[in-house]
Amino acid sequence: MVTTTSAPSRAASGKVSFAAAAEAHLDDVHAYLVYMTGDRNLAEELTAATFERALRIWRRFDPRRASAKTWLCQIARSSALDHFRSEDRRRRREGAYVATEPREAEERSLTEGLSPELEHALRGLSAADREVIALRVLLELDGPAVARLLGISSTACSTRLNRALQRLEEEMRDAVPA
């Protein structure tokens, strides 16, 4: 096992090594980014970028403030938002051409093993809805942690989750072939 901090200091702070955290939460971060972006390839790129960034600032991670999973998701969110912002700027720059450009991501499946109904339903949701579902349902983070991560209150987080699940259910119903 490789570590970036010495064993005594780790033991004192209860901090796991970066390698251990990466090993344990790679799937979580990847799944979160897949849901958030709706694009497997992009999610892989952002996952790698997230871990690169996390490695650079690993010494700032404090397990008393948040779990490694929450901390990594926070960085992943920041990476995804940076990407969305730059995409938004690019689209505005390129104007009408990009508006008519077909999005490659929409042609691919989100992930293997996903039922067509669920995939269709997820695609019908906004990134914000997919995000809260990923955090609360898929990654099973608790409400307060997700609320902190999203920068909203716990109540708003709960409301947002219920609405997202409701929409997902409606989309699922619509996706069932008559």
Partner: protein, 363 residues
């Protein structure tokens, strides 16, 4: 089917949540390898860096602030009592603290009341406070002396005038009033050579009971230095003009203009010399205002002699109050800006969060 771990998730969506969890995306082997190769080899214990993080700053920053305030207080305290070596009596240290400085605070005054004539050597401290021998000073003293009756008042007035003259001084003002025939006042303003001021005060104190005393010293050395520099500069200017006028290649117009300037420079030089002479003369004599009175309603008060510790505490408190006043002033001035900054930061964060939410809604 496993139940949802958090009761905040509505039970209606249990089935849906299970479906979502069952198809959780997994990272590909390539991604896993890519991420795990990012991890650098484990550094040995020697290479582990000692990192304190930001928390120590919570202690260090206030400690530094306290140290700065304490330092300023100590410096302030030293600024008030620092030149104790030049003070012959600790009780009146304030008057003479700037004696050998450039008189950053040119005037200091300390009222001392209640010294008795019979105890002049001990309780008339001004007598033991010599004017500076190295710096020019404007030395002023005010004495209020009580005498027994009108006869004594008349005698003491005449004696005070004689004392002033015998010391090489002169009477500037003499005013004697005894309207009711029972009680009266005599006001004398004398100027004596500054070297004799101690003797004069001692002699005046012997005329009766001192009921009030105030000494004021204003440093004039800086003024004289400034005047001297100005005079030297004017002399150089005059010399330059005179040299210029000796040239033969000047036109009549240039020569006339130079003469005008030379005249003006000479006038300024004369004025400067006159001012310096007046300042020097002012420093040569001390002004003593002596009030002799028969009135008994003014009770002599034994002067308090604060100890070293008390004076230190007082000075420290004074310096600290000045620091606090400055800090308060800075806070009052900077306060609205800090509030605006905090509001701006909060608004910016709120705007950014809303923008992110909109972005995610669109994505």
């Amino acid at each position: 089917m496993p139940s949802l771990p958090d009761p905040a998730i509505d039970e209606r969506y249990e089935k849906l949540a299970a479906l979502v969890r069952a198809s959780k995306p997994r990272a590909s082997a390539e991604l896993r390898e890519r991420v795990l190769t990012l991890v650098p080899p484990e550094p040995g214990p020697r290479t582990a860096r000692f990192h304190l993080g930001w928390r120590p700053s919570l202690v260090l920053v206030p400690a530094a602030l306290v140290a700065i305030v304490a330092g300023v207080a100590i410096v302030g305290t030293r600024g008030v009592t620092g030149d104790a070596d030049v003070v012959s009596q600790p009780t009146v240290s304030k008057q003479f603290e700037n004696e050998d400085r450039d008189a950053a605070v040119p005037q200091q005054a300390l009222p001392l009341e209640g010294a008795r004539a019979g105890e002049a050597d001990r309780s008339a401290p001004s007598a033991a406070l010599p004017p500076s021998r190295t710096r020019a000073q404007n030395f002023r003293a005010e004495l209020r002396v009580r005498v027994r009756d009108l006869t004594e008042l008349s005698r003491a007035t005449a004696r005070a005038m004689r004392v002033a003259r015998s010391l090489g001084g002169y009477v500037v003002l003499a005013q004697y009033e005894a309207p009711g025939g029972k009680e009266g006042d005599s006001v004398l303003v004398v100027r004596v050579p500054v070297q004799k001021v101690q003797t004069a005060i001692l002699r005046f104190a012997e005329l009766g009971t001192i009921v009030g005393q105030q000494i004021r010293i204003e440093d004039l050395q800086r003024t004289i230095n400034r005047q001297t520099e100005s005079i030297q500069a004017l002399r150089r200017t005059v010399a330059t003009f005179e040299r210029e006028l000796e040239r033969t290649d000047l036109t009549a117009e240039e020569r006339a203009r130079l003469r005008q300037r030379l005249l003006r420079a000479n006038d300024a030089l004369r004025n400067g010399l006159h001012s310096r002479s007046a300042t020097t003369q002012q420093a040569a004599t001390a002004r003593i205002s002596l009030t002799l009175t028969t009135r008994t309603n003014v009770e002599p008060v034994v002067p308090e002699q604060p100890g070293y510790f008390e004076r230190t505490v007082r000075d420290a408190a004074s310096a600290l109050s000045k620091v606090l006043a400055w800090a308060l002033a800075v806070l009052i001035v900077a306060g609205p800006f800090l509030v605006l900054l905090a509001v701006g930061v909060a608004l910016e964060r709120s705007r950014r969060r809303r923008a992110d939410e909109r972005l995610l809604e669109r994505a």
